[in-house]
């Protein structure tokens, strides 16, 4: 906020805001939680109870409760939970401010363009993030035979490692749930576009419906993905552990699809927020970048899925 000076530009100068600083603290808490929750690797010697409480792997307690053994409370749980809630609170506060500023008309045309640049750049970096996972996947998928050639005695069943969940378990049937999910996402892509155009033409009712449908489809996708995971998890019934730790393929499969699922979740929430804002009368037909950004993001998530479907599910399932 320039004080007494007359401001003769349309840029958006923001008064001091607590959110970034609080984000830093939230991130720290979350980070400590992550380590404590996953890395309970300190062997219990009883020397340092505080540290051991902190590092008593939250993961172990989850396993314990999953296997019906009583789960003692560990540091990991609590700290990670606090971190996540803290982060959610900060995000809420931050984006609420943004929405208000937008309503207050701070988002002049030039600022609006800036927001677009920002969103495009953000999606670019998301894309590079997935490049990392796909690179890993292709390396494992295409060059496993080469590596096997290097060292047969270590990788005698390398091709199986690299193309199926676990020895014996044939990889997921691409044309079952995955195909349905593909259709779901493609459909949701159309509904979100419908919502956008409806809003542009001032048909708020249609826009709300479009968004509602999109969100529902998003949730449906997540549910099906969950079902598929659980099924795979039970493939260990045949004595094999077809799970994230089974082998390279399992790892790549679950981390890639998992991170995609996580992004679907984010996108769904993003769209849901837009929906709620519309119900509250927000998002004008001439100015609604929130919705456009959500739509862009949703399409991005959609494209990533198409790649996953084409390669992770079809190509490797066949080549395996």
């Amino acid at each position: 906020m320039a004080g007494h000076a007359v401001v003769e530009h349309d840029y958006h100068l923001i008064p001091p805001s607590p959110w970034p600083f609080l984000s830093g603290i939230a991130a720290l808490t979350w980070g400590l939680g992550m380590v404590a929750f996953f890395a309970g690797l300190v062997e219990r010697t009883g020397e340092n109870p505080m540290m051991e409480w902190f590092f008593a792997s939250g993961l172990d307690t989850v396993k314990a409760s999953a296997l019906g053994k009583g789960s003692e409370v560990s540091g990991g749980w609590i700290i990670l939970l606090i971190g996540c809630l803290f982060a959610v609170y900060v995000m809420y506060g931050w984006w609420r401010d943004v929405a208000r500023e937008s309503e207050a008309g701070d988002h002049t045309p030039v600022v609006d363009i800036g927001l677009r640049y920002g969103m495009i750049m953000f999606i670019m970096q998301e894309a590079m993030f997935f490049v990392g996972w796909f690179w890993m996947f292709f390396e494992l998928g295409f060059f496993h035979k080469l590596r096997a050639g290097w060292n047969p005695d270590v990788l005698e069943n390398a091709s199986e490692y690299a193309t199926s969940m676990a020895p014996g378990v044939t990889s997921v049937d691409a044309f079952n749930l995955p195909l349905i999910n593909t259709l779901i996402l493609l459909l949701s892509g159309t509904t979100v576009t419908w919502a956008h155009h409806a809003l542009i033409h001032g048909d708020r009712k249609g826009a709300k419906w479009g968004l509602f449908l999109t969100v529902t489809l998003g949730i449906l996708f997540t549910v099906f993905q969950g079902i598929e995971y659980v099924e795979l998890f039970h493939a260990r019934g045949e004595g094999h552990e077809a799970w994230i730790g089974a082998n390279a393929y399992g790892s790549a499969f679950f981390m890639a699809t998992g991170f995609h699922g996580f992004h679907v979740l984010i996108g769904t929430i993003f769209l849901a927020v837009c929906w709620l804002r519309m119900l509250k009368g927000g998002l004008k037909s001439e100015k609604h970048f929130g919705l456009e950004a959500a739509a862009w993001y949703w399409h991005f998530v959609d494209v990533v899925w198409l790649f996953l479907f084409a390669f992770v599910y079809i190509v490797f399932a066949i080549s395996g």
């Binding site: 590596r147 060292n151 270590v154 990788l155």
Partner: protein, 283 residues
């Protein structure tokens, strides 16, 4: 064994070998306070040294040109000497030149560099294969071709031991890898836990030992003597303490070493009397 009647050939050969070894004994480990590449003891290392020297000259010339130019500018165009700055900010000719010239220099550099690269990589018909297995923190060696020579672990000597034996600390091991001279030896390098790197500067060899992979490299020793290298990929606390020691002996000596299930007839097969044994070597 029967000594043939003294002839000058063998005498010369012997003294020559002794001289060569005298040289080798100096080349086989880092030189005290040394500031140049270790002396080459394999064809690859000779080529490597050559290429290094070519590139070295090139970069020195470049550095010299830049330095001299800068010195001149700094003096000629200091404020006192040149109160009114010129305003020229363009000279297409110049810009083209200093784009093209580096390109040409690099092209000149690429030739030898590539030849060396392919020479290093493409191992010629192998005459012998050795497996080096990195372990935290020592090297295990297998003589793939001789099942009577069983694999052994080469541990570093601690300070006191090294001193008493008069061998260099952090370079010498308790069991040297024994190889024949003038033989193309393929080395399979792998690891059982952390990554390591099997390196022998005098041979121009360095190959990472990666768990789950078997990497290939090769060398051909051209000098007899004991050669030292050190683990060259961080592998944990004792990374500095898993040296590589190679003892290069005559083919005959090596044959005897193998026949002896991987031990020298007289463990102190001293290098001095090698020429003699060479004369007596059965064909």
């Amino acid at each position: 064994m029967r000594l043939s009647r003294p002839n000058f050939k063998s005498f010369i050969a012997g003294s020559a070998a002794a001289l060569a070894l005298g040289g080798a004994a100096f080349a086989n480990k880092p030189t005290p306070g040394g500031w140049w590449l270790q002396e080459a003891a394999s064809p690859v290392m000779e080529e490597l040294t050559r290429v290094h020297n070519i590139v070295f000259v090139i970069i020195c010339v470049i550095l010299l040109v830049v330095t001299v130019l800068m010195a001149y500018i700094m003096i000629r165009f200091r404020e006192k000497a040149n109160p009114v700055p010129s305003k020229t900010t363009h000279h297409v000719g110049l810009e083209v030149v200093w784009t093209i010239v580096p390109v040409l220099i690099l092209l000149a550099m690429v030739g030898p560099s590539m030849r060396l690269l392919y020479m290093q990589d493409r191992l010629p018909e192998t005459e012998m294969t050795i497996k080096a297995i990195g372990n935290t923190w020592n090297w295990e060696y297998e003589y793939v071709d001789y099942e009577n020579v069983d694999s052994f672990v080469a541990n570093p000597l601690d300070k006191a031991e090294a001193k008493s034996k008069g061998v260099p600390y952090l370079l010498a091991t308790d069991n040297a890898l024994v190889v024949p001279i003038g033989t193309k030896i393929k080395v399979l390098v792998t690891s059982v836990n952390n990554m390591h790197s099997w390196a022998m500067p005098a041979f121009g060899v360095k190959m990472d030992a990666v768990p789950g992979l078997v990497n290939e490299t090769w060398f051909e020793a051209t000098k007899e003597g004991t050669f030292y290298g050190q683990c060259s990929e961080i592998c944990g606390a004792l990374h500095y303490k898993m040296p590589i020691e190679i003892e290069v002996v005559s083919k005959a000596e090596f044959a005897r070493w193998v026949a002896n299930d991987g031990a020298f007839a007289t463990r102190n097969a001293s290098i001095e009397n090698l020429p003699v044994t060479r004369i007596a070597a059965p064909k």
